[in-house]
Point group: C2
Chain length 383, copies 2
Amino acid sequence: MSTEPTRRGRKAAKTSPAASAAPAPAAAPVAPSRPPAAIADRAGMRQVADRAGVAMSSVSRVLSGHPDVSAAMRSRVMAAVEELGYEPNMLAQMLRKGATQTIGFVVGDISNPLLAQIALGAEVALRAAGYAMLLTNSVNQPNLDATHIRLLQQRRVDGLLLSLSDETNDQTIEALSATPTPSVLIDRDLRTRTEESAVLSDHAAGITQAVEHLVGLGHRRIALIAGSPHVRPTRERINALEEAVEAHPEVHAQVRPGAFTEVHGGAATRELLDGRRPPTAIIAGGNQILVGVLGELAARQVRIPDDISLVTCDDVPLAKFFTPTLATIGRDPYEMGAEAAALLLARFGGAEPGVITLPTSFTGGRSCAAPPRTAPPAQGERP
Amino acid sequence: MSTEPTRRGRKAAKTSPAASAAPAPAAAPVAPSRPPAAIADRAGMRQVADRAGVAMSSVSRVLSGHPDVSAAMRSRVMAAVEELGYEPNMLAQMLRKGATQTIGFVVGDISNPLLAQIALGAEVALRAAGYAMLLTNSVNQPNLDATHIRLLQQRRVDGLLLSLSDETNDQTIEALSATPTPSVLIDRDLRTRTEESAVLSDHAAGITQAVEHLVGLGHRRIALIAGSPHVRPTRERINALEEAVEAHPEVHAQVRPGAFTEVHGGAATRELLDGRRPPTAIIAGGNQILVGVLGELAARQVRIPDDISLVTCDDVPLAKFFTPTLATIGRDPYEMGAEAAALLLARFGGAEPGVITLPTSFTGGRSCAAPPRTAPPAQGERP
DNA sequence: GTGAAAGCGCTAACAG
DNA sequence: CTGTTAGCGCTTTCAC
């Protein structure tokens, strides 16, 4: 950090940002009888109609591309629209039509590049179909999910895209039940509900491949540092690891669920390495977790892959230049977003809720090698 | 990539996502006279009033926390609200009140972690003040900026946060001029306008520090690979580099503006290294650019910092584990978002447009060292 | 083809 | 304290 923030106004602006959290006390001394018109003087359809000397309904027809309008009418109206710089008020249209052409996206943490990419994919697809996206951020606080679902319902979104921070939260389930609009779950699985469409990732396939790879290299002690146990990806990964290991009785698997955070990644790594049977390979179950794992390994001067092998789920931007290159279980988040949007649009078109599973891929890297010949003595290990 | 996407429906869902891009042909055989109620049967305030046996205005008063309501009235109304699961229709409120409690955020590229972080900071601050955020993504296409500004205006947002992809676009300026609501520019400078508030980063300070550091190490040929010349950060960085170099006549500076992309980063690096006076230090002007630079350096087996020194602007998540540690010109994007929100809220409170400049920081790293003693012969260099 | 009229669901005077 | 009354800006019958 260098200097303090500098504040300089253009028009002697005394700009005190922290101030006025309140909506706006309205400077008007006398309360006006009309709605306070927080929005400046903007021409409405009424003005356009008057200026063109026609009825409002005609303006409406022209603007909505109704076929039964004379060329003369069309040009008169358009002229007036131009002159007044008229912009239709979608609020009124929405209220009248009962549809907002808006979908809500409840996302756990938009600062996570994975989710940002999903949001991007969804937004592009939605916009192409004429929908805008209202985005809310639960900052990974489960109780905010329900709040946001209700908030979006009050704004009468036409549908919901949900990347919930907790699948098991009762309030969330309740809020969802009260939702009359179609919804699409993104890599989440709410067993109690079948009304929602879902786009899922095949985490099991990726984990299985990774485990086979590691076992093939000679690893016998594999750990998975997973994220929150309240979401599908974590459960799927854990299940997949346990199943994969069943096929190899000689392999000992350890699982450390927790949270999708750097802190958890670091703490779990510490715990594992200090444990009775330190793993020779770690699978980091998320990009934030990866950062924590790397930090702890670096701090201990544990070398990759000489001392320990590493696989990550969901790579991070710079991962490809990391030395050694990281073995990765990846997927295409942009496509997930796009498919989620498609699933929602399909429901608007009358389709039933659907589920689609997208593949994951395992890419080997230099971060995996044979375990050290002089494996640290498994302290107190019993036969 | 492994397998093909698997599609399995729950209720024999024939889920054809790509289908039905059209809003919804409406399955109803006979066109209803009322608005098509795309939204299911939801109780309105009318129903609540009837059920409670009171006037709508009373329901409204209770729900909006008006002081003059008897306890009896309050409980009767709340009971009806509960029973009907009533959710107020914000659309109607917005139309009536002339304010939407929504702000629009025009962002060039949400998949850029820097902008995602800014969006997060803004959203949190805005939500705390009761505002929701409508986000649009210009995918770095300048012509989309204007489109999105208009789109948000039609939705009657109360204010705009703008991270434009091009400051010089006429359409954008025009759209902005037609905007009656307050706006805040994020690290952008529209010379022709003073109506907008702005939150800026002090890029010059960071660049200056970096240059001094490099010169101190002995570098005499420094290159800046910058992003789009149509946005403030690029201009500021270029100006700062040129000014900093003026103080050191022995230093030769080269600048390669272009785009905030990996491709440009790689191409510019190639060009510079193949040029007449290859730099001994490169400053990467953006996180995507950095990726391109690193890629090209790796491909050529150019070592950092042995063969070349490297500084990056705006680090990426994994940067701290990059070997060698990267010297970085950083800033706090979350705070930028929060300050932008504050500036907007201040305007709602009646304040004039204001400008606030936030600091940047330079953090040295192992990626900078003295230039190689055997500097590559400056081919065809002239005295 | 075009106009008149009736609301979408809610709030805010204004009376009582 | 509570009810009545007018709309916010637009779309959509329904007549002409």
